[in-house]
């Protein structure tokens, strides 16, 4: 059967990662033309070729709730379950923004809390434009807004995201430092005195 998950992937997750996408959406993807024509026999390397061809992100669209190529590729990645390092490379490359968007979404689905924040937050600095396909129209957003949606919302692109631990909790457990924005650094240099932002760091060093 073509829609099988990599057996090793099932082992490492404890369940079939394809189940991260609900059954109805999954069935829709298996039935759609893009999946059948373009996704068959893809590997972790060749899936990149398809990802760079993406022209928008999105979930289900139109009156028939058709799956976008974007979520087809998400399901494909769940089947393939490529190594962490490969996903990291997808996120690191600066050439193809839709590959970045795809990898970010995938990582939000499979990564653990700390790793999700660590890998996705640097993308807050990335303001390249992205098209997002809604039900009946397109919106223009930016990579930083995309990441913000992934980290804050429960549903993105008609897919329910796994629960993400609160950032505060991870900071208090000292698993994560405060997010350091480039803009914040810039402002601090300009102010050259103790502004409200320095208190933020103090708060978490006081917590035991």
């Amino acid at each position: 059967m073509a829609n099988r998950t990599d057996p090793l992937a099932i082992h490492s997750h404890g369940f079939d990662p394809q189940f991260l996408i609900d059954k109805i959406t999954r069935e829709k993807i298996y039935q759609c033309a893009y999946w059948k024509a373009e996704c068959f026999g893809l590997t972790a390397e060749t899936v990149v070729d398809k990802a760079v061809e993406l022209t928008y992100v999105g979930g289900l669209y139109g009156p028939l709730k058709k799956p976008t190529p974007f979520i087809c590729l998400i399901l494909k990645l769940l089947q393939l379950s490529p190594d962490k390092e490969i996903i990291y490379q997808y996120l690191q490359q600066k050439k193809f923004k839709y590959l970045t968007a795809l990898a970010a979404f995938y990582w939000r689905l499979v990564g653990n809390g700390v790793d999700v924040y660590r890998w996705l937050e640097p993308l807050y600095e990335d303001f390249r434009k992205l098209r997002i396909r809604r039900e009946n129209n397109y919106d223009l957003i930016h990579v930083d807004e995309w990441v913000d949606e992934l980290l804050l919302k429960e549903d993105v692109c008609d897919i329910k995201l796994p629960r993400l631990p609160n950032r505060n909790v991870l900071m208090e457990d000292r698993l994560l430092g405060p997010r350091k924005s480039k803009l914040e650094q810039e402002l601090e240099e300009e102010l050259q005195e103790t502004g409200p932002f320095t208190e933020k760091k103090k708060l978490y060093s006081e917590v035991k």
Binding site: T55, Y56, Y61, G62, K97, Y124, F127, R128, K129, L130, R131, N136, N137, Y138, D139, L140, H142, D144, E145, D148, N168, R179, S181, L183, E184, P196, F197, E199, K200, L203, V207
Partner: protein, 84 residues
């Protein structure tokens, strides 16, 4: 550029000439997020301070405060106009 349903795709090209403008727009978004994070931290700080304050009180003091709060809430409830 049209898609499969005949909808027009918005322009998503990142041009060098728009860089400064896009950077400004990004700064506004980023500032909003920083403000949000700051508010969240302040909220958490207040929460921790409150927990600490209650911890440092004796059992009687805590009880007294709880009763006062209950009375206050009761009063507010009574003063509220009832739905006819």
């Amino acid at each position: 550029e049209l898609d499969d349903l005949g909808l027009e795709l918005p322009d998503d090209e990142d041009r060098d000439v728009e860089y400064e403008l896009e950077l400004m727009k990004w700064k506004i978004r980023e500032l909003r997020r920083l403000q949000r994070e700051y508010d969240r931290d302040e909220e958490r700080k207040r929460e921790l301070e409150e927990i600490e304050r209650r911890r440092n009180m004796s059992e009687d003091e805590r009880k007294k405060e709880d009763e006062e709060r209950l009375r206050r809430d009761e009063k507010i409830r009574e003063e509220k106009p009832k739905i006819a």
